[in-house]
């Protein structure tokens, strides 16, 4: 009897321990709801000027996307050997390029809305996938999964998976493959990415 009690106690402690360590899926979902509704849907459909939209989008992007975390991942094994200046330069140009790309592409979501389909756990305890879909005028709805990470109570997006295609993984394949072939390595990548900025 004592043994069973101990086992139950141990199980309960472990359960509550893991529950404490893991990210709160409901809060993550609320965070993405806030982001898509107030951030994206209202921003796109508002009557604000293009410059105003751009400024609001940039703010949203910087606050809600953990680009330092993503940038480290997309540089792969080259992150470790990169100098602090290379790291900072890369994150900077990667951030600008993403803002440029996404402020152009979010217009594709004009008039569309995100439907929330619950969440999906990740192997990483501090992360969770929030599943959404966007109904399309023709054909099946597009699947959009938001990978949310919690850092000290703050929720941020670390990856967006559209139709099974992870943006972080695609960027990593592109950049690491590029560095491998570039004679100038990481500096070559930073230089060529800067050339892509408008």
């Amino acid at each position: 009897m004592k043994k069973i009690c101990l086992a139950i106690l141990a199980a309960l402690t472990m359960w509550s321990w893991s529950a404490m360590a893991a990210i709160d899926a409901q809060k993550a979902e609320d965070f993405v709801k806030d982001l898509t509704q107030q951030g994206i849907e209202q921003l796109i459909n508002s009557n604000a000027s293009e410059a105003e939209k751009q400024a609001r989008f940039t703010k949203l992007f910087n606050e809600d996307l953990d680009l330092d975390f993503i940038g480290k991942f997309v540089l792969g094994r080259y992150w470790r050997t990169a100098t602090p200046k290379q790291r900072a330069d890369f994150i900077d140009v990667y951030r600008k390029l993403n803002i440029q790309t996404w402020s152009a592409r979010f217009n594709e979501f004009k008039g569309k809305r995100f439907e929330f389909l619950g969440s999906e756990s990740s192997k990483s305890a501090d992360q969770v996938f929030v599943n959404t879909q966007v109904p399309m005028p023709e054909g099946a709805p597009a699947s959009v999964k938001w990978r949310v990470k919690e850092t000290g109570g703050k929720y941020r997006i670390v990856d967006i998976i559209i139709e099974n295609v992870s943006l972080a993984q695609t960027a990593r394949s592109e950049y690491t493959g590029y560095i491998q072939k570039s004679p100038e390595g990481v500096n070559g990548l930073i230089k060529d990415l800067r050339a892509k900025l408008k």
């Binding site: 990483s124 295609v165 990593r172 592109e174 690491t176 493959g177």
Partner: protein
Amino acid sequence: MKKILTTLCIAALYSTLNISSACAAENEDSALESYNRAMFNFNTKVDDYVVKPVAKGYRAITTDFIRERVRNFFANLKEPASMVNHGLQGNFADSGKSLGRFAVNTTLGLLGTFDVAGGWGLKRNKTGLDATLAKWCVPDGPFIVLPLLGPSTPRHTVGLAGDALADPTYWADYYASFGKDWERYSFYYGLTALGFVSLREANLDMLDNLTSTSVDVYGTIKSAFLQNRLKLNVCATQDGQPASYDFDFDDEDAFED
């Protein structure tokens, strides 16, 4: 030595992630890669000088309304392939829906240009031979770039060919031009070309955006194409295994060529 290390890394990746063939596909053979890049450059040239200008011209002379009719028309021609393949995958209800959609949209929907069945709740649910083969656990094979048709894999290519055989206009043309060899398929080829232009038009903005921000368009398209296909590989991702996008952010070697 590097080769051995790479092999070990791939083996480790296999055993930990268990994505099997799909993951290996991102690490491509160097001879195959040089062929692929050459073919990709050729396709890009054809696109720059012919396909893209034609697609832009098509956009300039048509309205949204017309383009949607055209897209619907081509989507409707794929319903027979969906019907057969839903059946081959054992989804008989979906197979019946595809048949119903084809019957309703071809007649009431004026040759498929209007999605009448969609309005009745029979939503489009496309599938094809590629998805069937994936369900039967046929491996995908390496990434290959086809002339004009672009990114593919061996299984994807077989799927394209099989689905083309289920296209009703192919058979309509075959019988309509019976005995007149010289004009056989000319109608079908014309339609296929229009379908190609319609598809290119729908992707103009997306591809322009991609080429303006990517430092390696080939690498980006290859990675995205292969990731998108992983959702078909139901055999490789059984229950209890992490999804392909649930990678570890601390894994330094994942997804690198």
